[in-house]
Amino acid sequence: MISQLITGAGYWSPLLWLAFLILFALIGYLIYSRGNPSYKKDTEQVKPYLSGNAEPAKEKIQVKASDIYWGFIEALKGYYKVLQAIHTGDLRDYILWYLGVGTIILFLLVGGA
């Protein structure tokens, strides 16, 4: 037997939910069926109106993760400019930095002894 679930926030009736689902699907279908059937797919007719401008690629209009901390990078751009130039992506460069900085630290720690 399908019964109602009564909670402190209201009630849940699966049959009522189903009835509304069918009702709204029917209303949706009625609206859809009254649409313009002469629409041509894959043409400008289905693209958004952007004051006559071409629709940019989806990737270009996305909000990127880096946009969130854009202000931070902008404020520290002098620092980032140097840092980004150092980041060549070449592992040999990083090893060279590691060895260079390691040598300096080693020299400072034991050089005086």
Binding site: S38, Y39, E44, Q45, Y49, N53
Partner: protein, 148 residues
């Protein structure tokens, strides 16, 4: 104007202004004011070409606007009609030999009704819309014939 048997709905119009001096645009607005009240015939300006039956174009169309105008025309659903309002769009008008113009408009998109004038009176614009309506009636009939 006879009875419309195929195009049985209000006429929605999209207005695109390309390099106009605003004279024609002001007359279009005048056609919607209480004195002329085009809306009582169901003629209404809409904000997107995707909702429009008629494209109303003003201006002599500068080079940069030509592809945008073409796109606006292509985004309109069928059947559709185009009205050119003013001398500039009709023939180039005062600016016909300007280096930066690609008009007249009928060299960019197909035009159905021309309204010459600098600027034309609101009555002339409303008359043009009625002429476009008759054209749409014919086009709608053809579309329905294709469906059957």
């Amino acid at each position: 104007m006879g009875k419309l048997t195929n195009f049985k709905r209000s006429l929605w119009v999209f207005h695109a202004s390309g390099g106009s001096c605003n004279g024609c645009d002001i007359e279009i607005i005048a056609a919607l004011t209480p004195r002329y009240d085009a809306e009582r015939f169901g003629i209404k300006l809409v904000g997107s070409p995707r909702h429009a039956d008629v494209l109303l174009v003003t201006g002599a169309i500068p080079r940069d606007f030509a592809d945008k105008l073409k796109r606006i025309y292509e985004q309109m659903p069928d059947p559709k009609a185009v009205i050119v309002v003013g001398n500039c769009g009709t023939s180039g008008g005062l600016f016909y030999d300007s280096y930066n113009l690609v008009g007249p408009i009928d060299e960019i998109i197909p035009v159905d009704v021309y309204v010459p004038g600098c600027p034309p009176r609101p009555e002339a614009i409303i008359d043009a819309v009625v002429k476009a309506w008759l054209k749409l009636e014919k086009l709608e009939k053809e579309l329905e014939g294709k469906k059957e």
